[in-house]
Amino acid sequence: MSLPALVFVILFIYYPLVQMFYLSAFRWNFVNPNMVFVGLENFTRMFLNDQVYLRSLLNVVLLAGQSSAIQIPIGVALATIILRYRRIGGLFWAIIFLPYVISSVAVSLIWTWMYNPYFGSINVFLRAVGLGFLARPWLGDINTALIAIFGTVNWIYIGLTTTMTIATLKSIPPSIFESARIDGLSGFQEFRKITLPLLKELIVVLMIIDIAGAFKFFDLIWVMTQGGPSDSTHVTTTWLYRAAFRSSEPGYGAAIGVTIFIFSFVIVQLLIKITRSRLTR
């Protein structure tokens, strides 16, 4: 009964995955399919000579770091508020989750317009309040492009982080809180002794999701900046796409894919193992 599913995942996930390792040792292009074996040359080039690749790795780290640092505290705070004030909380929850169901391309376009130098609301607002000197082409300025993208990222995902936190907090049986109240714990003690230990596990999970998510990040950056200005906003996936399909170096693209797989899958699995064993001990 699991055979049809097995055929699908083997053909479309594992077969390409294995082939990726093989392809990463070759140099060729889509026009002239003569494959030249180059061994590990793609990898030495990547780590020794490709400044943009290294920059894209740094951007992935920055993306994961800022997502964790900003979304997790805000998400936890909002989740606590939503659960406390159910009536207005429900409507508020519905609103902040909304961007997550809209396609990333649509969201990227909307925010490209928000950041537009001429009619973009951010510059219009700055000029209206007398801060016109701060107005700039946010996505075209090498100093602000990455920060502008991060702003959009947080706008999309804050609702998701909040939702995951709410689901975790709801999974606590209410009897625990009742007995805590009977034991005379105050609201703050309750948060510290019951909610916080549970949240610790969630925070680790959310950080893992942020790391894995940063390596899966593509749409937003491709639509908003295509990695520019001056290749300063590339992440590993957009650089892979550029190398493989725009510069027609699929072997090099496969090699970048190998590093994405190792960084995201292997590191995340290790993190899960380490945190699981630490949390269950």
Binding site: V9, F119, Q269
Partner: protein, 283 residues
């Protein structure tokens, strides 16, 4: 008396401040969407002269332009074909695999389960090159069939993971009594498990539909001709070339692209959020 009044007042002030914070965050979340909605009814001249102004003569012209010259009409039909096709296959295959790996004893069950689920942790972005070569060898580049099969393959792991959580929760006494009645594992699945699983299948189907409707990556890599484009890639295509500066028509196109998923979200908000939150626990 005085003291309790003070406490009540303090609570009210705190509640008021909290409400202000929530209101500001709500405005930040809603504003870009609202701006796009208003802009879709303006002319480009109005947009540049007064970006915050309301349209003098609001018309649906931008929407017609997006659907017709912007190719959004064709794209919506293509997206419906691809999303519904993928979701249909997933809805049949995933519950079967989830049931078998959680409720039926067979050789290598552990290995099969791991193989089916581990894909959830792999970034499809990493394997774009070999995946494109695979579709080329199958003759499926620039076809909806190739896109559908790829979506099914890459969405199955989450669908199975989600369904497994449901099948594991069914009490085994139910299965035992069915076995006493002499049902084979297939008829037990069809007659007992499948009807029970329908609400869970619906949740999975909605989440998969939204994910595939919104997907950009695979369509971007595999599709070539605009007549085959799905909504997200067509949206991007509309912002380049001839209509690159027609921002008001692009705003209308963005709204058209978002309507189906927003409607689904309004109808199934609770289901969608529960399903998405599962991603945190699936790990």
């Amino acid at each position: 008396m005085k003291m309790s009044e003070g406490i009540v007042l303090k609570r009210r002030v705190r509640f008021f401040m909290l409400a202000v914070v929530l209101l500001i965050i709500s405005l930040i979340m809603i504003y870009p969407l609202f701006w796009t909605l208003v802009t879709a009814f303006k002319t480009n001249r109005e947009l540049f002269l007064d970006p915050w102004g309301l349209p003098a003569n609001p018309t649906f012209e931008n929407f017609f332009k997006a659907l017709d010259r912007g190719n959004m009409g064709t794209a919506v039909i293509n997206s419906l074909i691809v999303s519904l096709g993928s979701v249909a296959i997933i809805s049949v295959i995933a519950p079967m695999a989830a049931y078998a790996t959680s409720r039926v004893e067979f050789r290598f069950r552990g290995a099969v389960t791991n193989l089916l689920i581990a894909g959830f942790f792999i970034a499809p972005h990493a394997v774009l090159v070999p995946l494109l070569l695979l579709l080329r060898d199958m003759g499926l580049v620039d076809t909806h069939v190739g896109l559908i099969l790829s979506y099914v393959g890459w969405h199955l792991p989450f669908a199975i993971l989600f369904m497994k959580a449901f099948f594991v929760s069914i009490p085994s006494s139910l299965q035992d009594s069915a076995r006493v009645d002499g049902l084979s594992k297939y008829s037990m699945y069809r007659k007992i498990m499948l009807p029970l699983a329908l609400p869970t299948i619906l949740t999975v189907a909605i989440i998969m539909f939204i994910g595939i409707w919104n997907d950009f990556l695979f369509a971007f890599i595999f599709l070539r001709s605009p007549s085959n484009f799905t909504v997200p890639i067509n949206l991007l295509n509309f912002t380049t070339g001839r209509y690159g500066n027609d921002y008001v028509a692009q705003s209308a196109a963005v709204l058209i692209s978002a309507i189906p998923t927003i409607v689904l979200y309004i109808v199934f908000a609770e289901r969608i959020r529960r399903g998405v939150a599962f991603m945190a626990f699936g790990r």
